[in-house]
């Protein structure tokens, strides 16, 4: 059943059976109400004043009309309560939050302590879905009439927005890091990082980094091996990366080109130096950032 069909069915049931107020109109609840609202009108609380007033006795604040028949802390809505039925339909559809948007109350007369009030409600309209500042939702309008015996004493058009709250902002899981492309020529380098070694490609006596498929002199018949660098070096150059965002990184971060003791330069993130602390010539040591079983990234730490 669609929301519109459910609404039509509920509206067709007409007025709910009268719902009795928990308590008769009474001074204690009036006193609590005027105390909280800050209304010091003596016709509600001062018997002598009220007796000599136009009311000829104490009366309840008209704006309390709805209060008398509220369901209360552990109250449950009557089975035939159209607002409750419509709320259930919209809850089911994911519109789980509610705010009141309109209340139009008409008071036929003031109520007096001791009067027993009852209320009936009917569903007037259900309009939606509408996009609102709070989220997408439906406007549900009901009409309630309050009675003392069979005398209608007050009426209300009441409208609520039943909406789907936007997902709360939660800290996002760290995005996956950018993974390097590992080739047969560079595999030894990445394997070295996993083993905690900073390996530098060597062609005969010549070190080369980044590793390549052939020696700097282009001789195609030589085969490379590698040396394990000491990991000590100094910052040759660096950048502070502020933008754009990089998956898995918090901005800003420092990327340093480090000249190793062995004479080659290797680029990696400098982990533990504030951007204004980095300078050319800063001594650093190699570090190894394990991402997972398959990947460890090279990095630098300040030699302290």
């Amino acid at each position: 059943m669609t929301i519109e069909e459910a609404a039509a069915k509920i509206a067709a049931q007409g007025e709910s059976a009268p719902r009795q107020a928990r308590d008769p109109v009474n001074q204690a609840m009036v006193n609590n109400w005027v105390e909280a609202i800050g209304d010091d009108n003596p016709v509600y609380t001062d018997p002598e004043y009220a007796a000599s007033s136009v009311h000829k006795g104490l009366v309840a604040p008209p704006a309390m009309a709805q209060v008398w028949t509220m369901n209360g802390l552990h109250g449950t809505r009557a089975d035939d309560d159209p607002l409750g039925a419509m709320m259930a339909v919209l809850d089911e559809a994911g519109f789980t939050s509610v705010v009141a948007t309109n209340s139009e109350q008409t008071y036929h007369r003031y109520l007096r302590p001791g009067e027993q009030v009852s209320a009936t409600t009917k569903l007037e309209s259900v309009v939606g879905p509408k996009k609102t500042g709070l989220g997408e939702g439906w406007f549900v309008t009901t009409r309630t009439t309050w009675y003392v015996g069979t005398e209608a004493v007050a009426e209300m058009m009441f409208r609520v927005l039943k909406f789907r709250p936007p997902a709360p902002l939660r800290p996002q899981a760290p995005a996956p890091v950018l993974r390097p492309v590992i080739s047969r020529d560079t595999e030894f380098f990445w394997d070295g990082l996993k083993a905690g070694e900073l390996r530098i490609q060597r062609w005969g006596e010549t070190l080369r980094h980044p590793p390549g498929p052939m020696p700097p002199d282009g001789a195609l018949d030589t085969k490379p091996d590698y040396v394990v660098a000491s990991g000590r070096g100094t910052v040759y150059s660096y950048v502070v990366h502020h933008h754009p965002p990089v998956p898995g990184k918090e901005l800003p971060f420092v990327v340093a080109l480090v000249e190793l003791e062995e004479g080659v330069r290797v680029m990696a993130e400098l982990l533990d130096a504030a951007p204004d602390e980095v300078h050319i010539g800063l001594p650093v040591v190699a570090a190894f950032v394990r991402v997972d079983d398959d990947l460890t990234l090279p990095a630098w730490k300040v030699a302290r």
């Binding site: 609840m29 609590n32 109400w33 105390e35 909280a36 609202i37 800050g38 209304d39 009108n41 003596p42 016709v43 004043y49 007033s53 136009v54 009311h55 604040p61 008209p62 704006a63 309390m64 709805q66 209060v67 509220m70 209360g72 802390l73 789980t96 939050s97 509610v98 705010v99 009141a100 948007t101 309109n102 209340s103 139009e104 109350q105 008409t106 008071y107 003031y110 709070l134 989220g135 909406f163 709250p165 936007p166 709360p168």
Partner: protein, 128 residues
């Protein structure tokens, strides 16, 4: 009291402290968690607990009868809610007579907080 179209009501300022939000919700027998439980209110998409509509109706009544006098008869209170009135907001009510037929008067009422207009409405009242 001389009343004519355009007569301004004395403004009313309400400090919507958390205590005010909670005590008025309970005094109006409204136990919806968004009026007394900040965690629940946030979970439901609000910034904080906020005033309930029964309290707005009550405040509008207070605002108008404080001007019209204790024996004024409130005939109707029709309000539309705009932005929420969260805890720690200051709510300022202003009003103006928009029509006058003998002692029967219609007052337009507005209440604003830091987010904008919280309540706009009209009150029909018979002056003493």
């Amino acid at each position: 009291m001389t009343v004519a179209e355009g007569t301004e009501l004395p403004p009313l300022t309400i400090e919507a402290t958390p205590t005010f939000v909670v005590s008025t919700a309970l005094a109006t027998r409204d136990f919806q968690d968004v009026h007394h439980d900040r965690d629940a209110a946030v979970e439901r998409g609000s910034k904080d607990i906020f005033l309930n509509i029964l309290t707005d109706t009550g405040l509008v009544q207070r605002f108008v009868t404080a001007w019209a006098g204790p024996e004024a008869l409130i005939r109707s209170i029709k309000i539309r809610l705009g932005v929420p009135c969260y805890a720690y907001e200051t709510l300022t009510f202003t009003g103006r007579v928009v029509s006058c037929a003998g002692r029967d008067v219609v007052v337009a009422v507005s209440a604003v907080d830091s987010l904008g207009e919280h309540v706009a409405g009209t009150v029909e009242v018979t002056l003493p």
